[in-house]
């Protein structure tokens, strides 16, 4: 069971509180997590990654196990601790003020 933490604005859009638990078939990657998330919550399509290109939106970042995974390949397998649900997969709205 994968545990995903969404930023507050996306929790509001999806009408959820707390973290999301998803069944994601192996291999667990950024791509497969986001696919499962968007199936469960179709209102999040286009808000994390572009509808057409499937590229991460510039001010959205992905973290897990204390590491910034934003620029990793979306198809790279994630660590066992994320795949097992011990660690959360964090989707973060970048701090981009100015």
């Amino acid at each position: 069971m994968i545990r995903v933490v969404l930023p507050a604005h996306l929790r509001t859009l999806a009408r959820i509180e707390g973290e999301v638990k998803l069944d994601v078939p192996a291999p667990v990657t950024q791509q497969t997590i986001l696919n499962a998330l968007e199936v469960r919550y179709p209102m999040l399509k286009g808000t994390i990654r572009d509808h057409t290109t499937q590229k991460r939106r510039p001010f959205v970042r992905f973290f897990a196990c204390g590491q910034d995974l934003s620029n990793e390949s979306p198809d790279s397998p994630l660590s066992e601790s994320v795949a097992s649900g011990r660690e959360t997969f964090l989707i973060v709205g970048a701090i981009a003020g100015g």
């Binding site: 199936v39 808000t47 509808h51």
Partner: protein, 412 residues
Amino acid sequence: MQNWGRGERMSKVRILVGTKKGAFILTADGKRKRWDVSGPYFGGWEIYHMKGSPVEPNRLYASQCSGWFGQVIQRSDDGGKTWEQPGSSLGEAEGTPPGEATTTPDGMPKGESNKFVYDTSPGGGKALTTHQWYDGTQHPWEFKRVWHLEPSLTDPDTVYAGVEDAALFRSTDGGQTWQELAGLRGHGTGPQWAPGAGGMCLHTILLDPRDPQRITTAISAAGAFRSDDGGKTWQPINRGLRSQYIPDPNAEVGYCVHSIAMHPSRPNVLFMQLHWDVMRSDDAGESWHEVSGNLPTDFGFPIEVHAHEPDTIYVVPIKSDSEYYPPDGKLRVYRSRSGGNEWEPLTRGLPQRDCYVNVLRDAMAVDSLDPCGVYFGTTGGQVYASVDAGDNWTPVVRDLPAVLSVEVQTLS
């Protein structure tokens, strides 16, 4: 005994306010003296525009966007009390056979209400992929946001969206899916279009109540365009406009149109706030002539027409295209009762010193009561109302986030 004016009894006015940090809905009875304020809806998001269906007034559409999470379309069917993203909830998919237009093969909602994809299919001049960039080179068309939503005059499920980078989209399923009317970008001048300071946005959509095939749009900084066949084919309608800041001041396109207004009883007469100059057309945009007259400055953004007097129009003069605030720190709406040229300042109730706000292009609207109500919002977060066609003004709210848009519904 209550002293009701004509049209006030049993009527209600609803102001839809889009701001930099959420949406607000202001409501009052026909007297328009006491206002209830609800919101913020979608707190923290930019609400570029909200508008209700003329045939089903509790059906509202809203453009919600953010630099982080992109575009979201919201729809309400209860006048703004509750909202949903069309085609995104499981409830909507229930009863729909899997694989139908708005569901996946698994029977899940497709969640495509915020999917705006430019039509680059070949044929009909549609294969347009680039426009002019600031340095004169060609630049790919990139969707950024929806500036304006214009619900159909006859069908609550049909709504048009004017977007940045400039294009016109239409939904016929209540905002669940969108298709570009690609003949606008593809009619021939598209590669010459260039963004203005605010981006290259399609911000004005006028639907002709007498001719359902006629649509008029305006784009910064390309100009005005008209379709007479329901959006299939388009032509520029910029003859008579002048832009001193482009190499050919009388070019077919290249005009920073800020807003266009039309009275529904006289759809061939159009009033335009051009970047500089207030213009008028008496032939549906075939030709334009200047009606700036005695305005203190002819720069500004919004332009509106009185609900019952087709020759009474309103603008808010702004000092210049770099300062973006009212002349002399005095916030003045100007009204012409003669269709332009002769203008009078309307100041009663508006700040006449130390006021340096702006009024954006979609931030002015009128109700259809008698006397006509006029409303506008400022970048300082005030929404002002006049219930006597502009003679006197009062602030409905003073401290909202910067106002991006104001629309008004008159409800019976």
